[in-house]
């Protein structure tokens, strides 16, 4: 038992948890973006609503949802702990830092991008997750597709969502491949594939997410 707690409180163990929860959250993104892409069928939201209804009422999904929130909270808390430790590791800051000479800005700004995502998530949950929950608990009918249309009718909401998606894009561009490295996966043959897959995954997922508020706002999805 002591050995196990030693692992989780070590620098490598904490990064391991970051990578593991990160990949778990990425797997959620796959489900989320796939299901939501049903709006592009342009069938008046019939398929999409069927999917949303399943996600809102299926008991297995309910349990997974708890796991998802637990993973998200763990990812955030661990990030805070790591950031505070890292700040402590350099009490006197450099006068001049030429960071762009050796690393990408987004790899150095994961905390900032993550905070942006958290702010976005509060808005996002208030827009969609909360109304669904209210409907489930009050046993009323809820049309998620119509909810989407109403929310994205406002232009400033569309802007907030696009900022959120851009934040997600850069967070993923570093996070996807970084998670594998933290889990100890770095191989001459496979790492170039992981890196490329990470870039394409980030771009495709974020492009699909960005297209949702835009097409809905423009009335392309009926």
């Amino acid at each position: 038992m002591s050995k196990k707690s030693g692992f989780l409180s070590s620098s490598i163990g904490k990064k391991f948890i970051m990578g593991l929860t990160g990949l778990f959250l990425i797997s959620f993104l796959v489900v989320h973006v796939s299901l939501n892409s049903a709006i592009f069928l342009n069938d008046g939201g019939v398929t999409f609503n069927a999917g949303a209804d399943f996600m809102a009422h299926n008991p297995v999904i309910r349990i997974v949802e708890i796991g998802l929130f637990a993973g998200l909270i763990l990812h955030i808390v661990q990030a805070l702990v790591l950031t505070l430790e890292n700040k402590k590791a350099r009490p006197v800051a450099y006068q001049v830092v030429n960071g762009s000479a050796n690393s990408s800005w987004y790899s150095r700004s994961m905390g900032l991008l993550g905070s942006l995502l958290l702010l976005f998530l509060v808005v996002h949950l208030a827009n969609f997750w909360l109304p669904t929950k209210v409907a489930v608990f009050s046993h009323t009918e809820h049309n998620t597709f119509n909810n989407m249309k109403e929310v994205f009718a406002e232009w400033y909401i569309v802007v907030i969502y696009l900022v959120g998606v851009i934040g997600l894009l850069y967070h993923l561009l570093h996070g996807f491949q970084s998670a594998f490295q933290s889990l100890g996966i770095n191989h001459k043959k496979y790492t170039p594939i992981i890196k490329k897959a990470g870039i394409w995954f980030s771009i495709i997922v974020c492009a699909l997410f960005a297209a949702m508020p835009i097409t809905m706002h423009l009335g392309l999805i009926k």
Binding site: K3, K4, G6, F7, S10, S11, I12, G13, K14, K15, F16, L82, E85, N86, K88, A89, R90, P91, V92, A93, Y94, Q95, V96, V97, N98, G99, A101, N102, S103, S104, S107, R108, M110, H174, Q177, S178, Q181, S182, L183, G184, I185, N186, K188
Partner: protein
């Protein structure tokens, strides 16, 4: 000293000892040759300061041929200056322009306290090595070198990791002051070879424990360490250490 035609303004960190607060001092150096190394430029400046009756600037140096790992200096926002794959002693003044202002700082990190000016205490690295960075051997005659056959690829990978000179540029470059590249190079150079495999589990556990105790930060995989390392130590070593640490934590035999 040899004479050249470069005139430079230097902003150098001056700090009396580890307990005092440091500040930047501005110096002007004249007649610098572009063929001088960065350290030779500092020699000229120090001679000038001594002649003027002022205190010279303290900085670390030893072999001056890029293999000892003593020279440090965070130059214009980068460890060992603007060139990749070199130490400060291998950095030439031709990498700068006449009239430049150059900002020189010590390595900064809680685990690298400043001794004086640009010289920092890197004994935290020594303590990490003492915790497990060795292979235990019996005394007596040296064994024949070819007793144990080692695949060429393994020998090469181990040798590339062993190229680490322990200068601390990885820590200095890292936004988190993480020592993961150094420790992983030392873990790898030993665990890749049959002689080092025997103590593999204890080694990685003890060295990482010591690393954490010394107050280094955590790795966020920015890759700055690899980019700034004068010996181009690969990030693959960090992944190897992560793997070994994970395996050893859960499957250690005692």
């Amino acid at each position: 000293m040899s004479h050249g035609n470069m005139n430079l303004t230097l902003k150098v960190w001056k700090q009396k000892n580890k307990d005092s607060k440091g500040t930047f001092e501005t110096y002007n150096v004249k007649g610098i040759s572009p063929d001088m190394s960065f350290l030779e430029m500092f020699d000229v400046l120090n001679e000038q300061l001594i002649t003027e009756g002022k205190e010279p600037i303290a900085f670390d140096h030893d072999c001056r041929e890029g293999i000892c790992g003593m020279c440090s200096m965070y130059i214009n926002g980068r460890p060992h200056g603007p060139k990749g794959g070199v130490t400060t002693c291998q950095l030439h003044m031709r990498s700068f322009n006449n009239g430049d202002t150059i900002v020189v700082e010590p390595w900064r990190g809680a685990a690298f306290p400043v001794i004086k000016d640009l010289a920092v205490d890197r004994s935290s690295f020594d303590r990490i090595m003492a915790a497990g960075g060795f292979v235990s051997v019996n005394t007596g005659n040296a064994k024949d070198a070819n007793n144990i056959l080692i695949p060429k690829d393994d020998a090469d990978t181990a040798f590339n990791a062993a190229a680490c000179i322990g200068c601390g540029a990885c820590v200095a470059a890292c936004k988190n002051s993480s020592a993961m590249l150094f420790v992983s190079a030392k873990v790898s150079q030993l665990s890749l070879l049959p002689q080092g495999k025997i103590e593999k589990q204890d080694r990685v556990l003890n060295m990482v424990k010591q690393m954490d105790e010394e107050g280094f930060g955590n790795c966020t995989n920015t890759g700055a360490c690899e980019a700034e390392c004068p010996k181009s130590i690969s990030l693959e070593n960090i992944a190897r250490m992560n793997r070994e640490y994970l395996g050893s934590s859960f499957f250690q035999n005692k």
